[in-house]
Subunit: 356 residues, 2 copies
Amino acid sequence: MSRFLSKRLFALSPYVAGEQPQDMQYVKLNTNESPFPPSPGVIRRLSEAEAGKLNLYPDPEGRALRQKLAEYYGLKSENVVLGNGSDEILSFAFSAFCDGENPVTYPATSYGFYPVFAALYGLRAREVPLREDFSIDPEDYKQNDAMVVLANPNAPTGLALDLDEIEGILQANPDRVVVVDEAYVDFGAQSAVALIPRYENLLVVQTFSKARSMAGARLGYGLGSEALICDLQTIRNSTNPYNVNRLTLLAGEAALDDAAYYEENCRTIQKTRAFAAEELKKRGFVLTNSLANFLFAKCPGLPGKRYYQLLKERGVLVRHFDKPVTTDYVRITVGSLAQMQRLLEATDEILARPED
Amino acid sequence: MSRFLSKRLFALSPYVAGEQPQDMQYVKLNTNESPFPPSPGVIRRLSEAEAGKLNLYPDPEGRALRQKLAEYYGLKSENVVLGNGSDEILSFAFSAFCDGENPVTYPATSYGFYPVFAALYGLRAREVPLREDFSIDPEDYKQNDAMVVLANPNAPTGLALDLDEIEGILQANPDRVVVVDEAYVDFGAQSAVALIPRYENLLVVQTFSKARSMAGARLGYGLGSEALICDLQTIRNSTNPYNVNRLTLLAGEAALDDAAYYEENCRTIQKTRAFAAEELKKRGFVLTNSLANFLFAKCPGLPGKRYYQLLKERGVLVRHFDKPVTTDYVRITVGSLAQMQRLLEATDEILARPED
């Protein structure tokens, strides 16, 4: 910390991204990336010809991609804002709709970035514990004076609310924005996009990082009423109007043209998820009913941190969240079938090893 | 505006980026892009093989590129922070080093984003008028209780302070950060990077958008003391740790490997600038002594806005800043020789036309 840093940031504790170790090849199941490459159409669009135009700024309005996303969802361009990843959209929302008088509420166990945004923007945050079984109780968000932020499915639990439950929360909060963070929605949960025409307080946040195999390109988006999106555009244009680069804009368009490829990948991941969950259960694991591209799993007889360490020693990287509620569990990305088999082999070794 | 927007943002007026008209082909001299494509090495690195890895997140630390930048400048990785364009670095600096009690100061005529950041973060801003001749008086920044932000060369005037003047400002502000925004430094001005080891309050901001022909890839960086950079990393990790995408990280590395290509381009632009300035002077224009990749020019007998409009009708796009101080002038990007010849032809038509 320098002696120039603003006092209001002294206690700010940044988000900790999943490890990206450079020292050996891991079976990397710790940051919920897709095991599939981008579609052939995406790779074709990122051609030398486009690279040769990088001396020119991207369209700051991202018109072509916003129009294509709007068509995909049956909305208008004015319902779409683009971000340098969905984290940026979340950051815009915390900045636009909250302040010293207008707090935020989210589950105490959820995406680790929400408390960081709250701290960064100096917000009061009501963090609501999950139920015993890790599920979200919609009633907790109905007597409320704060912006609601819900990951659906939630992370790291993978549990999802259904559309009726989301709608109940929207109806109970007519004067507050409800952010539904759907980073993981494409693996089996219900999207709230269909509710946008009826709820001006709904902001749906999605990403190309997971189901669309583009974590490395950084592309997220927000969908909502024109007025909500207009506010987010104001923030975007007041921080970084050229926030999405030329190649990523093009890749996003090409990905939407190849929807069938990504849908097939999602079905494969769902099948692999079912297989891996079943195999872990056979070995005595306890799992939530995850609808995301990860499993949230408790190893029999081992604290989460120890299981994580023993897997890492065997070249398999998963994620452990070192908090009381989640300490018994690890989060395991659903990768390829071969990757999950490596996980199971490493797990069998761990379960068969002599006691520590 | 939605009814959910935070009151503190009601008066926020976003930055207005240069026009990106889609309706016809313009000779586009309005956003200071390079007329040269990225180097062949950059284009080669953005290969299909890398596009095929976009399912994986980029290195959130940007280690390889930071190391390369550090070597290039004779610094350490800890002196380098990467941004999604240099606007993001500027945004981080305003957020980290200013607050309700700690204001900011910058020239009243400079990069239009500074007042936007000040408004976004709710800062008091002391905007200091330029001298009559558009130059910055260093003395104006020496009796000061605010973070100093200076574009050097300044925009849209192109005038530069020399290194002694920058150093005098650093010495007069030991307890305040001095940001030197060097977006345009590669076209003839002196960089303050050499002062970093001696001034812990110095933050130099640079970009790959101008001299390095990568406006479309979005890559900027901050260089400063370890403590300053650490603070900016805290902000970066609290908003968007994966702020620079995989392809842009690679392109940045490749661009540093091809330094000679870009240096040659900068020399060409300086020659073209001298040619275009001379030709405009022959036609009665008044110009500043711009050391940037743009000219700041007053057309004889025509207000800046009218000259801008008449050029646009003739397919040549320049930028006019509609404020009293700059109203007589336009800013003209120094493009290729052919583009400047088109500008001169259009100007000759305008000067020869019957009176309005």
